[in-house]
């Protein structure tokens, strides 16, 4: 089964917000993304990547002053397979990541689901996120 492995927060001051969650919950800093869409801080609880980002574009259509939880990300086995599935369910493809995106721990494809909720899918895990569980047949070997 795909796994929720990423949550992104739109922040005015990602540095201060990241410090708060590091101190409050002992989340660890695992990266400093700085791209054309956003820059900020990647944190990890050992399972999920929590991205605290200052966005450079209005991805949600809620204005550049939107602050709060922005999108989530789902780790899947096969991005192409899930792209076809999401399309068939009425989700709207938004953008893809650059070719080296997965190496930097970013999303691979962004979609809008029902009611305009934005989410990513990726088959390469976000920085600091746990990989998909091994299939049972592999685990038994």
């Amino acid at each position: 089964m795909p796994k929720l492995r990423h949550i992104a927060i739109a922040a005015e001051d990602p540095e201060a917000m990241a410090e708060f969650y590091k101190k409050a919950f002992d989340f660890k800093e695992v990266g400093r993304p700085n791209g054309h869409l956003a820059d900020g801080v990647f944190l990890s609880d050992g399972t999920l990547n929590m991205a605290i980002l200052k966005f450079k574009t209005d991805q949600l259509g809620k204005g550049m002053d939107f602050r709060g939880i922005h999108h989530f990300g789902v780790l899947v086995e096969d991005v192409e397979e899930f792209t076809a599935k999401l399309d068939s369910l009425g989700a709207k493809h938004y953008i893809d990541q650059g070719q080296d995106g997965h190496q930097a721990g970013y999303f691979e494809k962004k979609f809008f689901g029902p009611e305009g909720v934005l989410f990513d899918i990726a088959e390469h895990g976000w920085a600091g996120a746990e990989p998909l569980p091994a299939p049972l047949k592999d685990a038994a070997e």
Binding site: K3, A24, K62, I69, L89, A91
Partner: protein
């Protein structure tokens, strides 16, 4: 370490949205509620509780017509200690749960820039518990 174990979405139509994520990703509905704060469904990927809810109050101050990602939840070993730590860092207490027992939030708090999050020491329905401490796992 505390663990992110809950993500909540504000939805106008939680039935349709829950159906979408079940079909898209194979997530399972593990609980459906109609409480004082919200009505909707809790989905699980086996690790995280994804709550898709129609909220009945404006918890975020963004208006009752706000739809989108709403809050997240952190599973901790001790809620009181976590609450004190958050408050010492400038976080603000919002409300405590009105429902006794495991399966939902226990305390809601606002962090920097008004981001709302829950802390709980009983795992959300369908969410994985905290890992066993290393000393226990070695026994």
């Amino acid at each position: 370490m505390a663990k992110l174990r809950h993500i909540a979405i504000s939805a106008k139509d939680p039935d349709a949205m829950a159906d979408f994520y079940c079909k898209a990703f194979g997530f399972k509905i593990v609980r459906s509620d109609d409480g004082v704060l919200a009505r909707g469904h809790h989905l699980s990927d086996g690790t995280i509780d994804l709550a898709i809810l129609n909220f009945k109050t404006d918890q975020l101050g963004k208006g009752m017509d706000y739809y989108g990602l709403h809050h997240f939840g952190v599973l901790v070993e001790n809620v009181e200690e976590a609450q004190k730590a958050v408050e010492a860092l400038g976080g603000k207490h919002y409300i405590d749960t009105t429902v006794q027992g495991p399966g939902g939030f226990e305390v809601k708090m606002y962090g920097p820039e008004g981001v709302l999050f829950d802390v709980a020491e009983h795992a959300w329905t369908g969410a994985e518990p905290l890992p066993e401490p290393i000393k226990d796992a070695a026994e």
